[in-house]
């Protein structure tokens, strides 16, 4: 248990001043601006928004600057900030079919209606360090590519590839679009077993590394069933957000956010009621978070084991294991609190340890004495026998 400490104000104030100076680094170099982070470290910003569970690129960039680039510290700052604001509205569910697409690919279908767009991707790069980026005299102002294709000036509906297969029932349906009550882990404590709405909320804000590892474990065989997973469709783009303020009584658009969504399918062997078909897993993040979205979809699928009547044999299927250990702020709170002063605790543990050691030493001495006595008796008996023999 952690017991509060007093004192140390001066040292703490100096440590924080030291931190601020270290954050600034070499003052001969220009200071990093929040807009630079927002523009040029965008994927770090996106991760902080997703796991901080708050979409606000400026705030996420500020958090990253304050945290000296430590994602989890930045996520912590964002989570703390959100608790200071009132919640005004809940949005209408976003419609990811009507999206201004930045990237859209399918690993399952080559000829996807609407086409595959690679967008700004690291895929197919050679992963060689580009030293021209390190040359401060080179301007890296690259003009984006363009084309002569006729494009609409509005965001039209882009069909979802899995809907085509769903019509043949080869892929399971998306389920009812209605929900009487949507669970919210920021309002009510997480209860197990959790519904899919709760699991998806928890996984969306879950640590990318944790979800990646869990998803990976299912690929390596730590799951009950299901074939090779396929990325049915991955899309990144901007979607409009609508709210319905009471004073208006009709929905209004407040702006748009960037999201990445991933739909993964894998063969489900079927049950008594359900014929074999492709089952679905779903993943979504703020910004461009493809790795996380794919991993999340794999874990979402694994956690549907109860519903799909699969035996729970692997960690990724264990709802308690996954959901209770996925949040990096909860995890870091418990793990990192170990470094805070535990002096009283430690003293009492020392006392216990001293007592245990002294008891142990006493017991050992006693044990050894008993052993010595037994040996002595044996010796006497052994040396006594020939005497008796001799006497005989």
């Amino acid at each position: 248990m952690y017991v509060a400490v007093k004192g140390g104000e001066k040292a703490i104030a100096n440590a924080h001043q030291y931190l601020a100076a270290e954050r600034r680094g070499d003052t001969a170099l220009p200071e990093l601006t929040v807009s630079q982070i927002k523009e040029q470290m965008r994927l770090a910003v996106d991760r902080v928004m997703t796991e901080g569970s708050l979409y606000d690129p400026e705030l996420a960039a500020l958090a990253l600057k304050q945290a000296r680039g430590d994602s989890i510290e930045a996520i912590f700052l964002l989570r703390a900030y959100r608790t200071t604001l009132p919640r005004f509205y809940t949005s209408a569910p976003i419609n990811t079919s009507v999206m201004q697409i930045t990237r859209r690919i399918s690993a399952a279908f080559k000829d996807m209606p609407g086409g595959q767009m690679l967008g700004p991707t690291f895929d197919y790069t050679h992963r060689l360090l580009d030293f021209s980026l390190a040359d401060e005299n080179t301007k890296n102002n690259v003009t984006p590519p363009t084309c002569n294709e006729d494009v609409p000036a509005t965001c039209d509906e882009t069909p979802r590839i899995l809907d085509f297969l769903q019509n043949d029932e080869l892929v399971e349906g998306v389920g009812s679009a209605e929900s009487h009550q949507v669970g919210d882990i920021t309002r009510e404590p997480l209860e197990l077993p959790a519904g899919r709405d709760i699991r998806l909320q928890k996984l969306t804000r879950a640590d990318e590394g944790f979800v990646l590892a869990m998803g990976y474990s299912t690929q390596r065989g730590f799951k009950n069933s299901g074939g090779h997973p396929f990325a049915g469709e991955i899309r990144t783009g901007d979607v409009s957000i609508e709210v319905t303020p009471e004073e208006l009584g009709f929905p209004v658009t407040i702006g748009s956010i960037t999201v990445t969504e991933s739909e993964i399918v894998s063969i489900y062997d079927g049950s008594e009621e359900t014929p074999p078909q492709f089952s679905r897993g779903y993943g979504i993040t703020f910004g461009s978070g493809e790795r996380k979205a794919i991993s999340m979809a794999l874990v979402d699928r694994a956690l549907r084991c109860r519903e799909l009547q699969e035996d729970i044999i692997a960690p990724a299927q264990d709802e308690e294991f996954v959901l209770m250990h996925s949040d990096n702020i909860e995890a870091t709170g418990f793990v990192e609190h170990l470094k805070l002063p535990h002096h009283v605790d430690f003293q009492s543990e020392l006392d216990i340890l001293r007592r245990l050691r002294s008891n142990w030493a006493k017991c050992k001495a006693k044990r050894e004495e008993i052993e010595r006595n037994t040996q002595k008796e044996q010796k006497i008996r052994q040396s006594g026998t020939p005497e008796i023999k001799g006497a005989a």
Partner: protein
């Protein structure tokens, strides 16, 4: 307000929300005379819980929150409201003023022409530019037949 009015208002409110702060500021400064107004609700920042749908179009779930700034003004005989993503109080205030003015028949036509339409045109251009950039990365993969000796 009848049905067509609601749709018109949704339209201009959406444009005022999606336009850049620079554009709305420019539009305000370009007004021949800046009308008097009073704040009914100061610009205030809060959160919106964003809902997404399981599998893209299934049951809703809470995905995460975003910041929003809202503002209400009283202008002439109208009440203007604004709900703008982010934390820019000035953007919300200006959008509320324009929403109020646009509800007044004597201002509507002129403001649609001088403020909303140019903003919308600008948004459409941005959408087109981006769509062309993205379309230039359209890919046609060929499936290679595995060589059989």
């Amino acid at each position: 307000m009848n049905q067509t009015h609601v749709q018109d208002r949704q339209h201009w409110m959406s444009v005022l929300a999606r336009t850049s702060f620079a554009n709305i500021q420019k539009a305000w400064r370009a007004m021949p005379e800046q009308p008097e107004y009073s704040l009914l609700r100061q610009p205030e920042t809060g959160l919106v819980m964003i809902q997404a749908r399981t599998n893209g179009n299934g049951a809703p779930f809470n995905m995460g929150e975003m910041t929003l700034t809202r503002c209400s003004v009283s202008i002439h005989n109208a009440i203007g409201h604004a709900y703008i993503a982010g934390r820019n109080p000035e953007h919300a205030e200006l959008a509320a003023i324009f929403d109020g003015l646009l509800q007044l028949p004597e201002h509507n036509a002129r403001l649609m022409e001088t403020v909303i339409n140019p903003m919308e045109k600008n948004i459409a251009e941005q959408i087109k530019t981006k769509a062309k950039q993205v379309a230039s990365t359209r890919v046609d993969f060929f499936t290679m037949v595995r060589g059989e000796d």
